[in-house]
Subunit: 503 residues, 2 copies
């Protein structure tokens, strides 16, 4: 047995994943660790999926409600979805098989802000949680859990579930210990200010204390986190990064920002990684991150001495970077802090620290409303994630996107966003490869030409025609605040659903 | 000269409103006090409007950009709009003449969250503010401003404008002094936690200290605040209030709430007033309010000993209640605190205090997205106000609405909200006279029948037909997360625009 299980009582609970899966019953609400492809349980999901398949083969029902930090990986969401073992899923997902099951109507998915999902569990909004399954680097002598490569909603699930299953993963470096900063917000009516005034501040413990009597199983694993590699930076991403840096330079020139101590939040993906590559060669120094996930580009900034602190709840590293992080965890834990997602994404701290936020989008409309979740209003992509936690409360909130997707068949700029996750009040700057639109202080009609200029040239005439029609109607009816032609507001999406292209 | 102007230097600046209006030039960005019909300047707006009319008569341009706390009154927004003197307006309005000018395209209006508009001024998002015009109860010997019946964005405008004009209104009771609690959040990068952990806590001063050298004029006035009286409680409002109380009782039964110390936020209007009348006869005791405005119903709760503290940024009282408040201000200031709207609406404090929020709406769609601002997607009503500050961050966020408006021609429940100000992730409970829909923890398709049940019986079949069509498309195309029929998503609104009725 691994010496990573230092508590005598919990050593007595060690068993196989198959044995542990017997504690997870049909209908259970199961909260697991994991945020992006990091820190999720590696063995139990497969074992639960096997139980589900066996039950289904016998004609029995077996489905669970699955709660996570955010997305997980094929060996967690993927295997469970494949086995039709997930009735309900929250608060975020991105696995292709799970996404397919949701869009087929087999799994119900409720999208929530990542700063709030754990809070809702605490507040009883989902009812009683039955099982928490959490990956650990090790269990201390006292029985404390040392989280692995993500913290996510671990605390909320461990605190609120009736039963606890711990996976101790020896693939995870023991030197990750010290990276986590575990802090619980008091329950109502005794909540106090969160005492973070700088991204780098530690306010809690490096472990999670749990009720040992709730632990029903400890399972040993030795399996890697699974995150997809990032794509090489392409021309479009590079152009977007360039415009983003131009925007930042403009803020410095206007006296609203300095080259020292700029604090960033960034969504995950190839374009954000290109932005970080751009920052490497910029005049900005002593950059800080208060964000959700540490990605490759941030590690490069840290290595280059440009980034002095990175606070997040998880890693989203390519396999190569994940190996490096594991090897050099003792070094990186000087600079990196992993917090519960309630804290990493908390509106209170986000607003206080004055973040400059960049997130991706599916589409924006001509007035700046942003869709982050549902393609053509109906088909779920991933979820809102933390984008709204940051966008609403950031100092300057920007969205970055290529102007088109699917080889030009989908425009990121449409007459009316077919699902709205970020409202016109919250969206301050939008950036595509064609430039940036600074929407601050502009009334809706003033935003239109700036947003259309971000669209791909193939789509600009279509957007202009729409706006002309909308203006004519608005003038006639004296409804000029936000001109729309409701009859053709979704014409781009209807064409896409019918022909496969918005053109 | 009034002895309310105790500072010698500022006594030397006393002049008429007409003289003071000469400091307000075409193109100026002017920030005024006022939040609902309380505490706005009573004399300068008319004097500025006269300047505008005189200029326009000569063929000269004269328009200002007008920044307020929230809405004001006919003798502020109304007179300026009537004179076509407002080029740009933010962050909220409700005056009928101004609304008409905006919808005719004469005035540009940018809608912002009330907790953020002052912050944007501080952060330079609107450029340099030129003039601040603020109503005061009195000016102290040191030259400090004692705010009158609203605090709003006074601090931000006084701090950031180049010139200051003070109106000292002797109609306002001198005993309002002590009600205001003025607290400034440090500028970036030195922001600290806001030290409020209870609605009733005072953390600042009773006055606003200003840069005396910026004061160009002091004007004496003697004019009442102007708020509209509330309507008597009707059957529909009473039914909504009843369902709201049922919902609260359910929360107590579920152990998520107690009868002691429930902290409320409430939008303004007749339905919220009915809710407060319902609370008068309820089991809830030691009720607290952390909200935007003090309205009649809260005063009744205070008088009855049911409400022990009310924190807001302004009053929205009927004329009778306003007279009483003025008369008994010394008594009420024991219970009532008026804060800057950055603080009264701050996400940090709202989330910490665990508010139960109720706000009105224009329409909700079958998935729980809420439109608070634009009728039929285009025509501005008032604005988002503070509803999103509270809704996103509250403990439980509810929307209350009659099922129909305009004698049944408009349904509050539609297939697709024609403007979205509150996203599906944020809207937790919706209440009409037909009951309440508790949406917490439900995936989109699970919400539909609960929301349709809130609609007027005349509209339920239309909504059900829409959902059936949407479901058929979604099943065929495997886009089941949020089924929609985009071709008819706005059919209710199109009918309304064409025929004057959604039926």
């Amino acid at each position: 047995m691994s010496d990573r299980i230092a508590n005598a009582q919990l050593r007595g609970k060690v068993m196989t994943a198959e044995e542990a899966a017997q504690f997870v019953n049909h209908g259970d609400k199961v909260g697991v660790s994991g945020f992006t492809g990091a820190g999720y349980p590696k063995a139990l999901p497969t074992a639960i999926a096997e139980r589900a398949k066996a039950a289904h083969a016998k004609g029995d029902e077996y489905m669970i409600d699955l709660f996570t930090g955010a997305s997980t990986a094929p060996d967690c969401d993927g295997v469970l979805a494949e086995a039709d073992a997930i009735r309900f899923r929250t608060p975020y997902q991105s696995d292709p098989i799970l996404r397919k099951k949701i869009n087929e109507g087999i799994t119900l998915y409720a999208d929530y802000h990542l700063s709030e999902s754990g809070l809702y569990v605490e507040q009883g909004f989902f009812g009683q949680m039955n099982v928490a399954i959490v990956e650990a680097v090790r269990i201390t002598e006292e029985g404390h859990i040392v989280p692995s490569s993500s913290v996510g909603n671990n605390v909320e699930y461990l605190d609120n579930a009736e039963k606890i299953i711990i996976e101790v993963n020896s693939w995870q470096s023991e030197e990750l210990e010290g990276m986590a900063d575990i802090y619980r917000i008091n329950k109502l009516p005794n909540r106090q200010p969160i005492p973070i005034t700088d991204a780098g501040q530690r306010i809690g413990t490096t472990y999670i204390d749990i009720d040992l009597s709730k632990v029903v199983a400890v399972v040993e694993t030795d399996a890697p986190d699974r995150n997809a590699p990032f794509s090489p930076i392409d021309e479009v991403s590079q152009a977007i990064a360039g415009h983003f840096l131009d925007f930042l330079e403009g803020e410095v020139a206007a006296g609203r920002l300095t080259y020292d101590s700029y604090t960033m939040q960034s969504g995950v993906g190839n374009v954000p990684n290109a932005v970080m590559a751009g920052l490497l060669d910029s005049k900005f120094e002593n950059i800080k991150a208060y964000t959700e996930v540490i990605q490759d580009g941030m590690v490069d900034l840290i290595d280059a001495g440009k980034m002095t602190v990175a606070s997040a709840t998880s890693f989203s590293l390519s396999p190569e970077y994940a190996e490096n992080m594991n090897r050099d965890a003792a070094k990186y834990r000087e600079t990196i802090i992993l917090r519960p997602q309630q804290i990493s994404n908390h509106p209170e701290v986000v607003r206080r620290l004055g973040l400059i936020c960049t997130n991706g989008l599916i589409e924006a409309d001509i007035y700046g409303n942003v869709n982050s979740t549902n393609v053509s209003g109906s088909r779920i992509m991933n979820g809102v994630g933390g984008s709204a936690d940051f966008t609403r409360n950031g100092f300057i909130s920007s969205f970055i996107t290529p102007s088109v997707a699917k080889g030009g068949a989908i425009s990121a700029f449409v007459p009316f966003a077919s699902h709205i996750d970020h409202t016109e009040q919250d969206v301050k700057v939008i950036i595509s490869e064609y430039g940036y639109a600074d929407l601050r202080g502009l009334a809706p009609r003033e935003r239109v030409s700036k947003i259309i200029a971000l669209a791909h040239p193939d789509y600009r005439p279509l957007l202009e025609e729409y706006y002309d029609r909308a203006l004519n109607i608005a003038k006639e009816k004296n409804i000029m605040q936000t001109p729309h032609d409701l009859a053709t507001a979704f014409s781009f999406h209807q064409r896409f659903l019918e022909t496969g292209s918005m053109k």
